[in-house]
């Protein structure tokens, strides 16, 4: 199973840290995203997978080493084997330590190899001595572009859906369940991206090692899938609040699941108007818990930046993809009421 493969005309992109995370979380242990060394199993999976790509011999393969700090021995033989199957391999974000561990100095010397800004490694390294010049590919750019394609593919149109939690109509519905079902692998890559953000912006900033980790709050079927994967990747506990959205029905429970003074992260698939997040926040707060923040795969930014910042003060939010006024073209998401 490969999660990070993004195919474009002329090239295929793979994120090695994402693939290693999958190997180290599901196949060879349960380390989660904290893994920083690339092992052969992830590369072997990629090698097997590229055989399924049409015209692979005509395509460039980008192997993104971002967040990879070490490489296991003898990986150069797999890279050699990979390079024979495609047009050329380009290694992105290759740290010097990793470069040395890969023992690929014999292949170095391509005049288009480019060092990164702090000279700690290569921004782009050509796995061939001679070639023409190729473009650098930014992880964030290619991921965002692919995710936008995904939203376009899985948006149900002309439905005029009555939003169950807010008094508005949604002419379009982003069908996240269908997205998970039909593009599970890439969706898990999106959850990997979400995990990286949660780790970087929140978990890495916890005051001390003794500070308790926040607990994920799952509140519907889509959120159950998302929370389960996030729990594996980030090593966080999960509380099931069954269930808040889209249809809001809470059932009596024997024991209070929310514990006093514990911190919670509300997990959603799409945050549109934020009603479900507010309901969850009120519930958690009422029961004595603290809301650490809200995470979602997709967030619809309906407010201007200054107002967004104001809202952030109430509940800080992380999402993988935000639909904004700037990128809504092509998605054309709308929120309507009878008044407009």
């Amino acid at each position: 199973m490969i999660i990070s493969k993004i195919i474009r005309e002329g090239y295929v992109y793979f994120n090695l840290h994402a693939e290693q995370t999958i190997s180290s979380t599901f196949f060879d242990g349960d380390v989660g995203i904290r893994v920083s060394e690339i092992f052969s199993s992830a590369l072997v999976r990629i090698e097997e997978d590229i055989l399924l790509v049409e015209d692979i011999s005509e395509k460039i393969i980008y192997l993104d080493f971002v967040r990879i700090d070490n490489a296991y021995k003898n990986l150069n033989t797999i890279l050699m084997s990979l390079s024979k199957k495609c047009k050329i391999i380009l290694l992105l974000n290759l740290k010097d330590v990793v470069y040395n561990q890969l023992q690929i100095e014999l292949i170095s010397g391509n005049r288009f190899n480019k060092r990164n800004s702090d000279d700690s490694g290569y921004e782009i390294f050509y796995f061939e001595k001679e070639s023409i010049q190729y473009q650098y590919v930014y992880e964030e750019d290619i991921f965002q572009e692919e995710f936008k394609n995904l939203i376009q593919e899985f948006t149900e149109k002309n439905i005029n859906e009555f939003h169950q939690s807010s008094s508005v109509y949604l002419p379009k519905y982003i069908n996240v369940k269908k997205m998970i079902s039909k593009r599970k692998n890439f969706f898990i890559f999106s959850l990997y991206q979400l995990s990286i953000k949660i780790q970087k912006f929140w978990l890495d900033n916890l005051n001390s090692d003794n500070e308790e980790l926040p607990i994920l709050i799952c509140q519907n079927l889509n959120s159950a899938f998302i929370s389960s994967i996030l729990s594996s990747l980030l090593k966080l506990d999960v509380v099931i609040l069954d269930h808040l959205g889209p249809v809001n029905t809470m059932y009596s429970s024997l024991n209070n699941k929310i514990e006093e003074n514990k911190k919670y992260i509300i997990v959603s698939d799409v945050v549109c108007l934020g009603t479900e997040v507010k309901i969850a926040k009120n519930l958690i707060t009422f029961l004595g818990g603290k809301v650490y923040g809200s995470v979602s795969v997709i967030r619809i930014n309906t407010l201007e930046e200054k107002h967004l910042l104001e809202q952030e003060k109430k509940v800080k939010t992380i999402s993988v993809f935000s639909i904004t006024k700037e990128n809504n073209q092509g998605i054309d998401f709308e929120i309507k009421t009878l008044l407009n």
């Binding site: 199973m1 999958i22 599901f26 196949f27 349960d30 149900e156 169950q164 519905y173 069908n175 369940k177 269908k178 998970i180 079902s181 039909k182 599970k184 898990i188 799952c218 519907n220 079927l221 889509n222 159950a224 899938f225 929370s227 389960s228 994967i229 729990s231 594996s232 090593k235 966080l236 506990d237 999960v238 509380v239 099931i240 069954d242 269930h243 889209p246 249809v247 029905t249 059932y251 009596s252 429970s253 024997l254 024991n255 699941k257």
Partner: protein, 622 residues
């Protein structure tokens, strides 16, 4: 008097002349033609030892020989074999009706098979198809040895049986040499032949505990081997027929490696060579232990082998002694006494009930899936789950409603069980363990309910199959239309579906999911062309039958019996059920019409009353 089955194999009685007719002086076997004195000494030493272990006054002996009685299937080898066997029978007072003998590949005369092929020139036949000719010498021996008692038929798959009447034990001897001709050494039994002969046998031995004996090994026991010596394409079919016929143990020789192993709950016992010089000679004694009061029937499995101490008065072949290298199988359990859960969870002990007998309208062949491992109270994953439930106090009493027709007096709080990251991870691993242990293969995975969806994520990644999730059928009204969509069509590409969920009681929820017709919902259509639906549940809370072979079938509803709920239930026979843990949950004994008035918990509000669904209410327009 004890009943003891002596099991020997791979005697390799060896002609003292080689293929050129030149007399040899060194042999790999202790039993060689034209060496009566030496052979008698060897057999007598064996008999002395057996009698020391079990004197005939205290034991009643049976004898099983699982092939390779000779080395090259020569007439002189068979003649000497018959002589030493008669000596053995005389010493141990074994009646010939208490003997089972089957041939091994060394009892096939390959020259005779090749000659028959050369002479008869039938292009449709392979060399190994000349069964009559290749077994002619073995047949002569067999018929001469047993005289009028029984005769050998080279075309039969089942060549011999040994009946132990009082305990209803049937040893079935099979000929696995149908592909032994000029070259092959692999076991093979034609599927249709085996099926037909088992059917015939079943008529006379329906309720017998059946054990099969054949020559070629299913499992690799010799250290340099990676697979058993059986034709791969035929192995699956033969094992399946064994499972269908409820065979309780496989015994074979061939590899000269005395050991034993459980494979998917079936004991495989490999008997070493009785008289080859290396590795050390070996035989087995199976002692029948029967306790009718406790309902227990088992066969103790003891290995004996020759050890050499180079003592002054020690024979050249050494001294017989009990062997410690027995492998996993200390006994073959044919009937187990009433099982007890060893864990001390008074409230959680599974209530084992007599198997529910359902009269079927038509006799239907219920096939136990290959490799199915039934639930076992000693299973480590089951125990781990019970430990969490106990530690977190997650087993509750009260009145719990999932619908008007689904009510119970107990409830397991699964969402709390999955709360802690380690517990959630372990629960996901338990699901994958079931898939791996049972070698389950499937085309599509469905996570059922919020908890089922969480539990299924690991399996969906590791097994990399198409995946979706659905709400429980009793919670359909709580979900938007998009949440209820399966999102996949099934044009025949998905034949086996795996459903992963947290708790299953009687399977009605699963059957409803598969069959319920709902507007705009194509779930029912998806399942129409499906051959098999495997359900893995973290917990099973229904009644657990004593007969473990019924576990896989627990969720099927094959007939509309008196308790059939016509409104909410459906007939289904494709379900194959696996569960990690079992905790019996008491159902509310009242029906939907009287539980509010008759169930004291509800009427008087005595216990916690929890509803996990929304009662339908009339909408009043204002």
């Amino acid at each position: 008097m004890k009943k003891v089955i002596i099991h020997i194999s791979d005697l390799h009685v060896m002609s003292c002349y080689d293929e050129d007719g030149v007399r040899q002086s060194k042999f790999n076997s202790w039993l060689v033609t034209e060496n009566q004195e030496g052979n008698d000494r060897y057999v007598n030493s064996f008999c002395d030892f057996v009698l020391e272990e079990h004197t005939p006054e205290k034991a009643y002996f049976f004898l099983i020989i699982s092939g390779d009685l000779t080395d090259r299937a020569q007439d002189d080898e068979f003649t000497e074999l018959e002589r030493v066997l008669n000596l053995m029978l005389h010493r141990l007072e074994i009646k010939k009706e208490n003997i089972l003998i089957i041939p091994g590949d060394h009892d096939v005369n390959r020259d005779d098979a090749k000659e028959a092929a050369r002479n008869l020139k039938d292009r449709d036949k392979k060399v190994y198809d000349y069964n009559i000719q290749k077994f002619q010498k073995f047949q002569n021996f067999y018929n001469s040895f047993f005289k009028d008692l029984k005769s050998f038929n080279a075309e039969d798959a089942i060549t011999d049986i040994l009946v132990i009447e009082d305990e209803k034990i049937l040893y079935i001897g099979l000929n696995s040499n149908f592909h032994i001709g000029a070259k092959s050494n692999f076991g093979y039994i034609e599927k249709s032949k085996l099926e037909t002969e088992f059917k015939l046998l079943e008529k006379d031995f329906t309720d017998y505990n059946k054990i099969v004996v054949f020559h070629h090994n299913f499992l690799p026991f010799y250290k340099e081997e990676t697979q058993g010596q059986w034709d791969k394409s035929n192995l699956f079919d033969v094992k399946r027929i064994f499972e269908l016929n409820n065979i309780k143990c496989y015994i074979y020789g061939n590899e000269h490696t005395p050991t034993s192993k459980n494979e998917y709950d079936i004991p495989n016992i490999s008997i070493g060579s009785f008289s080859m010089k290396a590795p050390a000679p070996n035989f087995n004694l199976h002692t029948i232990i029967s306790d009718k009061d406790k309902g227990e029937l088992k066969i103790l499995n003891n290995f004996f082998s020759v050890s050499k101490f180079n003592a002054v008065d020690e024979p050249d072949f050494g001294l017989w002694d009990i062997s410690k290298k027995v492998g996993q199988i200390k006994s073959i359990k044919l009937k187990s006494p009433y099982e007890q859960n060893e864990l001390h969870f008074e409230d959680l002990v599974p209530i084992l009930v007599e198997e529910c007998k359902v009269e079927t309208e038509e006799a239907e062949l219920i096939v136990i899936p290959l490799s199915y491992i039934p639930f076992d109270v000693k299973d480590q994953d089951h125990r781990s789950l019970l430990e969490i439930i106990k530690a977190k106090n997650l087993f509750h009493s009260g009145h719990f409603h999932w619908s008007e027709t689904s009510r119970a007096h107990n409830w397991i709080d699964i969402s709390k069980l999955l709360n802690h990251k380690e517990d959630l991870l372990n629960a996901k691993k338990f699901v994958v363990n079931i898939i791996d242990k049972n070698k389950l293969e499937f085309d599509f995975i469905i996570g059922l309910g919020i908890e089922g969806n969480m539990l299924a994520t690991r399996a969906s990644v590791i097994k990399n199959k198409d995946y979706t999730f659905l709400p429980y059928s009793y919670r359909y009204d709580d979900h938007s239309e998009y949440e209820k969509q399966l999102n996949f069509e099934n044009e025949g590409e998905y034949k086996t579906i795996l459903i992963i969920t947290d708790v299953v009681h009687d399977g009605r929820t699963i059957r409803k999911l598969i069959h319920k017709e709902r507007d705009g919902d194509k779930t029912r259509d998806f399942f129409v062309g499906v051959d098999k639906i495997i359900v893995i549940s973290l917990f099973y809370t229904g009644q657990l039958p004593l007969d473990k072979t019924k576990h896989f079938d627990l969720l099927n509803k094959r007939v509309k019996d008196d308790n059939f709920d016509k409104e909410n239930d459906h007939l289904e026979h494709r379900l194959q059920f696996h569960f990690v843990s079992h905790i019996k949950v008491d159902e509310c004994p009242y029906n939907k019409d009287n539980y509010k008035s008759d169930c004291i918990i509800v009427r008087e509000g005595l216990g916690c009353i929890h509803k996990f669904y929304t009662e339908k209410q009339e909408v009043i327009s204002i």
